[in-house]
Amino acid sequence: METMFDLSTLAVNDDGYLLNADDWSPEVAHAIAAEHGIALTDPHFAVLQYLRDRVAEGTPLTIRRIGKSGLVSIKEFYGLFPGGPLKVSSRIAGIPKPASCV
């Protein structure tokens, strides 16, 4: 099995979110996901790409919007990223922690 990307080489904030979005790569995503006990699959990456695209265009992220994205239902989203889906998925996607209450 190939070794995981060494996350200690990347700049992160106190909550462990990447400071530079350009540092992100699928390998980095796999390594962060492993810290959350998540093995990434294609549906995970589809959501991660969606999140990165929304952030790039400046759209605030909410769980409701992800449920309406057509990619996953809200229930599936909770299933893919257990333990606080928006928080966890954003960290894996290499984007800032969402400041959303809904």
């Binding site: 605030p60 229930k75 606080g84 928080k87 966890v88 809904v102």
Partner: protein
């Protein structure tokens, strides 16, 4: 008499006791009170906590299919609402409906869903929704009037059982 210094307890180590579960009790049926409960329960799920909701008295309006998306906010007897507005004007027919509609529109802009959809989101996130048996009996509400996602109509004792476990907080609205 000589003052005696009482022994002080040693300062406790800064041990954190994070919230693990919330039980949100909603007893009011106004737009803002119901939304406060929904936002806190949903917010808990978003943080990876467990959330359960117990609706009682006028809070039951929020889980009645034909009423939940038509909740109103009080324009009279609400000093924080448009402070310069004379109470008599706020009491004119239709004024409250107008204010409530405007409030719902503003919330929609912030991606805050209607009550029915909000409850669906909470259930999708693993939350559970309960009704209060006593209030249901008092208002004589039929099971068929409630949302399909209702986990049950339960007693106060059963409600407290929902809050079992370390790190649970009960929030009453």
């Amino acid at each position: 008499m000589e003052a005696v210094a009482l022994p002080r307890p040693a300062p406790a180590a800064a041990e954190k006791h994070p919230v693990k579960k919330v039980l949100v009790i909603v007893s009011k049926g106004t737009l803002e009170d119901v939304y406060a409960g929904l936002i806190m329960a949903n917010g808990a799920l978003m943080e990876g906590l467990e959330a359960r909701m117990f609706f009682t008295f006028f809070g039951l309006e929020a889980i009645r299919k034909d009423r939940q998306d038509h909740l109103h906010t009080a324009t009279v007897g609400n000093p924080a609402f448009m402070q310069k507005l004379p109470t008599m004007v706020a009491g004119l027919p239709g004024f409250e409906a107008l204010a409530s509609t405007m409030m719902r529109k503003e919330m929609d802009k912030l991606d805050i869903p209607p009550v029915s959809e909000f409850l669906e989101m909470i259930v999708a996130g693993g939350g559970e929704i309960y009704g209060c048996k006593l209030a249901v009996d008092m208002f004589k509400i039929e099971d068929s009037e409630f949302i399909d996602d209702l986990a049950g109509v339960i007693t106060v004792g059963e409600m407290y059982a929902l809050a079992e476990g370390e790190g649970t907080q009960i929030i009453f609205i």
